[in-house]
């Protein structure tokens, strides 16, 4: 197997590669040395072809029916095995529920420490910054071991530029008899949406608890998002009360976004929510309380009732052409 310094775990949704996971290529380049990409799944041959132009020393592919679902016990084992065979010292991924589930387990198999949500790489690749306490502080940390596992915050690293050199594909042999089978996939409930992915969207509209019911949430938050071609997000309070599904949650324990424009509708601005929106370029807040904490960090603040203001805004945007 081709030797490498950094092994990058690629994420996909069984149809295509998740673009944020490619931002790890930029992080690998900052670390220095060679990097290889690792793709696991079932019948992923077509997808592999989309990964050949990123300057990787090789593209490792573990393609097996038994890897159709990303079950952590078997995925971590295959990843740790590939890591050892290619002689890597760093295992890299992007902070997502997929990576957060699997990478720490792989770290334990490799007897390596891990850092979650790395934002910057400093000191020749030996020092890292990451947010702690819901992003209210930034920690600078070093790792005292040769092997290490890092999950990067995708929005903190640029998308990689393409490369004309073509990486060689290396198929990894997967012995199904050696895979653990203590975890079984049962089912999945995913919504098919025409809207852009929350973590990749240029515009995101977020809704809070005052959106009252699902119908109002969809009409106001969804309506504004559609008028701008954006994605929908929500606060924990909105998800807890059933206004929005769990995967819309933005914040410390949900998704971290960094769009050009974030519009917060009826959102108080709790530190746990801000943790997920701080890196948005422009933030608009619409809140009826002039003292709402969200106004302390919004680029544009409009004091008003969302039930009245948002339909007006949707109307104004429709008329803008």
């Amino acid at each position: 197997m081709t030797k490498t310094n950094t092994l990058i775990l690629i994420e996909h949704d069984r149809q295509q590669v998740k673009r944020p996971s490619l931002h790890a290529v930029t992080a690998a380049q900052q670390l220095g040395g060679d990097y290889s990409l690792l793709l696991l799944g079932s019948a992923v041959g077509e997808m592999a072809k989309s990964l050949l132009g990123y300057g990787a020393a090789s593209l490792l592919v573990a393609d097996h029916a038994e890897l159709a679902e990303p079950l952590a016990d078997r995925y971590a084992l295959v990843i740790a095995d590939a890591f050892q065979k290619c002689g890597a010292t760093t295992l890299l991924g992007t902070s997502s529920t997929f990576s957060k589930d699997i990478l720490p387990r792989a770290a334990a198999l490799l007897d390596a420490p891990m850092l979650t949500d790395v934002m910057t790489i400093e000191g020749n690749g030996n020092s890292f910054t990451r947010p702690i306490n819901a992003g209210s502080m930034i920690a600078t940390v070093q790792l005292g071991s040769e092997r290490r596992v890092l999950s990067i915050r995708a929005s903190a690293f640029a998308a990689p530029t393409g490369n004309t050199a073509v990486s060689p594909i290396e198929q990894l042999a997967v012995d199904a008899a050696l895979l653990p089978n203590g975890m079984q996939f049962v089912s999945r409930e995913e919504r098919i949406s025409d809207r852009p992915d929350l973590t990749e969207a240029r515009v995101v509209v977020g809704g809070g608890r005052p959106l009252k019911d699902k119908e109002t949430f969809d009409r106001l938050v969804g309506g504004l998002a559609d008028a701008l071609g954006g994605a929908i997000g929500a606060t924990r309070a909105a998800v807890d009360t059933g206004l929005a599904p769990n995967d819309y949650q933005i914040g410390q324990t949900g998704k971290v976004i960094a769009p050009d424009l974030y519009i917060a509708l009826g959102i108080s601005g709790a530190i746990q929510h801000l943790a997920g929106i701080k890196d948005s370029r422009v933030i608009i807040a619409i809140n009826k309380d002039p003292d709402a904490p969200i106004f302390q960090m919004a680029t544009y603040a409009l004091v008003g009732d969302v039930h009245q203001v948002v339909p007006e805004l949707i109307e104004a945007l429709r008329d803008r052409e």
Partner: protein
């Protein structure tokens, strides 16, 4: 005959109260300590499993110095049958915590380990997965529903993922990490707290457990992130649209 899960172990951490540091810019350093909210949810879930008659014992475990005994008592007041504190005052990283917890688990031999998905101070989201890897046990992370199946030899878990919800089955023994919507933890009554004051805490050391670990992560500094400042107040939707077009250029 249905066998109950004999013992559930719940790992919990003491953290600064996240609700006290709820304004942007607050450091949280003066906040009082509480049980990590995700761990409180894990404890609550264990209590509910016991209330359904599906387990006979709940053991709570935490690692930290004696200053966290108040959170240990809070766990006992919630209803854990016994509490172990591994006395360690060092700044540990998740991998060190996982290795110490492995020592406790090897000694206690529970059939199920419940814990939070994430400690809200270090925000690592690692310990449960590392522990499962070290033990070679199945894991279910970010769980919002647990159902014990097949004579309680398996757990059916609903997981909150980036794409929605996923259901998996894990054979026991397993590690399950709790997400926010698994349940709503009960309030601890004052009499409950007073009663818990009298219960003994089983204090052990890493040495007694036979676990020798050094944290591999070194925290060299912490700093406040650059703060966004308050921007412009606009008076109307029309003004907002003009600003977005002409100033922010996002339309």
């Amino acid at each position: 005959m249905t066998q109950p899960v004999e013992k559930i172990l719940v790992a919990f951490k003491s953290v600064p109260d996240p609700y006290e540091a709820a304004a942007p810019g607050d450091s949280g350093s003066t906040a009082k300590s509480v049980i990590n909210p995700f761990d409180e949810i894990a404890i609550e879930e264990a209590l509910r499993i016991r209330e359904r008659g599906e387990t006979s014992e709940i053991v709570g475990v935490t690692i930290g110095p004696s200053s966290i005994d108040e959170q240990v008592r809070a766990a006992m007041a919630m209803g854990v049958d016994r509490a172990i504190r591994i006395d360690d005052a060092r700044l540990l990283d998740p991998y060190a915590v996982a290795r110490i917890l492995r020592g406790v688990i090897e000694k206690e031999a529970p059939q199920l380990v419940l814990m939070g998905k994430q400690a809200v101070d270090d925000d690592s989201n690692q310990v449960g997965q590392m522990l499962a890897g070290l033990l070679g046990w199945p894991q279910a992370t970010f769980v919002s529903k647990i159902e014990l199946l097949d004579n309680r030899t398996r757990a059916r878990c609903t997981r909150e993922t980036d794409a929605g919800l996923e259901v998996i089955d894990v054979n026991l023994p397993a590690i399950i990490t709790a997400d926010l919507r698994l349940n709503e933890p009960r309030y601890v009554s004052l009499p409950g707290l007073i009663k818990a004051r009298k219960k003994p805490i089983d204090v052990q050391t890493c040495q007694q457990l036979g676990v020798i670990v050094e944290p591999l992560t070194r925290l060299s500094s912490t700093a406040r992130p650059a703060r966004r400042s308050a921007g412009t107040r606009v008076e109307s939707v029309a003004e907002l649209v003009i600003k977005l077009k002409e100033e922010a250029k996002v339309l």
